[in-house]
Assembly symmetry: C2
Homo-oligomer: 681 residues x 2
Amino acid sequence: MRLLCFFFILCSALMPLAAGQPPQQINLMPVPASFRVGPGQLLIDQTFSVALAGEKGTILERVIQNFVGDLSRKTGMRLDTKPGDLARATLGIRTVHASKEVQELGEDESYNLEVSPAGAQLSAPTTLGILHGLQTFLQLVETTGDGFAVPVITIQDKPRFAWRGLMIDVSRHFIPLGVLKRNLDGMAATKLNVFHWHLSDNQGFRVESKKFPKLHELGSDGLYYTQDEVRELIAYARERGIRVVPEFDMPGHSTAWFVGYPELASAPGPYEIERKWGVFDPAMDPTQDKTYKFLNEFIGEMAELFPDQYFHIGGDEVNGKQWDANPKIQEFMRKREIKSNQELQAYFNKRVQEIVSKHKKTMIGWDEIKSTVIQSWRGQESLAGAARQGYRGLLSHGYYLDLIWPAWHHYAIDPMSDDATSLSPEEEQRILGGEACMWAEFVSSENIDSRIWPRTAAIAERLWSPQQVQDVNSMYQRLEVVSRHLDWFGLTHNSSYGPMLRRIAGTNDISAPRTLADVMQPVKDYAREETATVVPTSATPLNRLVDAARPESDTARRFADLVNVIVSGQANNTETKAQIRILLTRWRDNQTNLQQLLDGSFLLKEAAPIAQDLSALGAAGLRALDYLDRGERPPDPWKAEQLALIVEAKKPKSQLLLMVILPVQKLIEASAGGELPSSSN
Amino acid sequence: MRLLCFFFILCSALMPLAAGQPPQQINLMPVPASFRVGPGQLLIDQTFSVALAGEKGTILERVIQNFVGDLSRKTGMRLDTKPGDLARATLGIRTVHASKEVQELGEDESYNLEVSPAGAQLSAPTTLGILHGLQTFLQLVETTGDGFAVPVITIQDKPRFAWRGLMIDVSRHFIPLGVLKRNLDGMAATKLNVFHWHLSDNQGFRVESKKFPKLHELGSDGLYYTQDEVRELIAYARERGIRVVPEFDMPGHSTAWFVGYPELASAPGPYEIERKWGVFDPAMDPTQDKTYKFLNEFIGEMAELFPDQYFHIGGDEVNGKQWDANPKIQEFMRKREIKSNQELQAYFNKRVQEIVSKHKKTMIGWDEIKSTVIQSWRGQESLAGAARQGYRGLLSHGYYLDLIWPAWHHYAIDPMSDDATSLSPEEEQRILGGEACMWAEFVSSENIDSRIWPRTAAIAERLWSPQQVQDVNSMYQRLEVVSRHLDWFGLTHNSSYGPMLRRIAGTNDISAPRTLADVMQPVKDYAREETATVVPTSATPLNRLVDAARPESDTARRFADLVNVIVSGQANNTETKAQIRILLTRWRDNQTNLQQLLDGSFLLKEAAPIAQDLSALGAAGLRALDYLDRGERPPDPWKAEQLALIVEAKKPKSQLLLMVILPVQKLIEASAGGELPSSSN
């Protein structure tokens, strides 16, 4: 019944309204569980006020302050932040219970929002639902002909999954607190509720430890969070309905620990902070008691600092080399009949599990290890397998932001698909949700936002909205809106593009480099590292075109849509053709403009071959359009020449991909009456 | 000799270099007192290091950290912040003396910077000179064909005036600490050295007072700086070579004091925080002892909080109405033979001067009052007059940023011009410098940066560089570069334009509104207030086109330059004409694009008449070009019609001015063979 109801509502909402009503577009991301749009709107002017009823708890007043501040920033109007009279308030808020002092997994996050032309009512069982409802309200505010307004709408909303996370690796590149805060704002705006803080790795240990100060003093290059800063961030997250789960990766991924405490390692030191990327040999010695004594004290300290119930111990990618080479460890394994390094790691995990439990936390780890909660980076198969074995799990496979996939790719990945479809209802319950992961080999404060946003909003929708919400076109339309909505929180995914291009261009007029960068994307998966001419390290400058180029080219996507209209032979496409010609002409001519800048910038030089490819593609596309317009078939040699060009252009250059190749190829094929290429670009 | 030398150097620097050398453009603002550019450059890569010699003082290490952080942000490279070995450092820094613990007026701010391909040497008598030299170095860093680099150059630099200030009024609109900090960064980048903090006025009392807590509790709507925040800002300024001079305006401009302490006023309360703009009646009662008792305690508290030697007591614009109406005050005046309100205020000032002196501060006030230092908002005549009478003075007349004048206007105003040219050398010494003033009737956190920057850089150059530096074209070229340089400090004068236009447009595609906004400027002087249809208050939203439009239209300035080439009949102007046609066509056609957005946005509607004017101007300009191209004279009725259109377009609409009218008029006149209009647009 719920599904039917949902679909009915979705259709009625997206259908044109009755005559006399303006058409409504619901720019919400994630899409609510159910909603119904009505005629009219609620104006938001400076008489706007909020009133509270029911339980307030400790954070609600700050939440309202934040909300009114956000609304004020979005509208550019000074608004009164003090809660007012319920009878006359624009937005009445009714909370049944305050949410838990320390936010918990599985707390009720649902809310109802009812907007009429006279006012809005938001109600929720807990403060968490209120938080989500306020973000929905904020997204709905738009500039209209009559003023700022929220459309008349009835929303009944609740998340599909209880664990909707974003992991940020602050070890490989340190990410300052302010950058994390603005990303927490982005998470709140898209209803994500777990910030997974990857705090230690080979390349850095990022939290102050009062018990073992050499961890941060020697393991961080001075780039770490003080315990006060950690508390500040947790409080910031708390006011945004976000749990903070710390991760301290062990027994591998731990070189940074050993700089200060080499005695923990399985091979003698001294150790230095790792500067390169990859999987390295150093691992904790799981056979000595002092390792567990240390971990007991350390985990005790951190369990107190981080109030969340869950404690992530990593557990991934131990290559076992240090264990193999250490006779003492080999002797230990023989004595205890431990047959493999995998078994040895299981022994380690068991001991750590006891420590974590002793400190009243629930252990979580990456899917090589068996802990209470398993975070799967290997895939849906391993996730479903874990659920069958009685473990709870999270999906991260498919949500790795550092692999630079387009939003539609992440959007298509569902924790409940593939192997999970055959789970029993009880087993299904064990799949808690998922986490987007921002591994930090190639991000800095300057471009990390552009790697996280807006794509993470598509993942957030996958984890919040009903499974049936799958319209990719609708997703992209709303993604563009939410991307600009996020600007109001100070996220720099849009604003840092210009300054980075100006640095690269070495001049303020960046029209030519921008035209090029607008249709490029960084190479995908691990190609950046694999194709590097110099081994990249944590010191490698991230100031190249590949660092400025967006993970997904909107221009290329729109161009592909235009070309699809033409090659599918739809009628009345004169206007479409004109738009295509404008783009192709701009690309063809861009090389000349760019050429003038190349000598002046060492950072721009590597773009020269790509600019040439783009220019050639522009010319080829224009010629193909000419043939199409004249109804002429191009000569075969021309076609062969163009297809050779396509092959050349498809090769990544300077770790960048040109994203308009396939549509141009389609134009060429169409003009030649050939079969259209079908593979994805 | 100094002058001759300066000119020689300037000319040799700006002349093309010998064959084989790339031409060098020195993008420095302010222009140094003297410099000589040589061949070659110093590469800045990740081996960059700094070394210190001589005195370090308390702030130098933080200064170096800030500098390396800035350099790292500008280049996108991780750099080592720890000072290294002098013999091998890229940049050697030698300081003779640490600057004073509390920065003083008139400390030596000079520095020498010597850049060779092998390294750079910066030396200065005090830390202040080092600070300025580092900012020079930072401005010189640019992207080149070989890498980031600083040109080979020898600079001997020192300021022309010792007091180079920026006043920010935080009373009329509260400006948060973070916004002030980024503006202090902008000040440091342009070598301004006094932040004049206008902390109280009728509309708000913005500092926590522990002695009189009702001042900030009742006088600020909760929008004030805690004393800790004040100390934080002062420390921030100190590390950037900036003194912080607080202003508490009295006896007028003080309504906000009276909300908590009505007994200080000259008429019985109760009082409320003033919400409107203008000059108001409330004034302190200068005849009662308790006023001075209060001020003594208050100034004592603030004198301790603000370490600077100078203490600004405002003193401007007392209309005297409360004094006239108070029999007790009238009686006091009769008894003491005080003949006028002006004399009464002089009596007040004398008493306050005693208090300020008692707390070991030097009093400064606006030019209605006679204090030790006079800040002139009335003009150069009053400034010179004060100097003749033995007072020291600052010029602010001509530097009011809120009047929305173009940079060239501020640039042309010199504290030593007009009446000051007849001063004796001794009197000249009394002119300390000047201050740009940002009165805050129409600014918020969102657009204040765009009102201050980049125009303030032109004022900074006037106050720092030799008087002879007056080339307006060079100033504008460098202003554009420095404007983008300031982006690296997080200033939002460039970046907030897009989001504001998107809010106004109610959509993400802002090409049409941007085309319009790019050629508009807010009305000048006090016309914004005078032409308001509703009386503006501190609650009035600042989200309109007039708030987003830049104080100065670069597009219009460039267009005017292009047209001047044409109408002056210079040869080979086909390319210029083509550029003009592109602009005119875009403007002509923009209305159609904009039209589609008008119904969807209440904020955009007011632009409709301006878009119409622009469209008509575009069409008229194109037609005029056609006539010119054909060597035909247009018919008289056409010309008359176009000139009528010009008259109409010149009228301000929605408090905005269209800035391309005069050049279009020139095209029309030129095509008709008429006389060219000469008045400024």
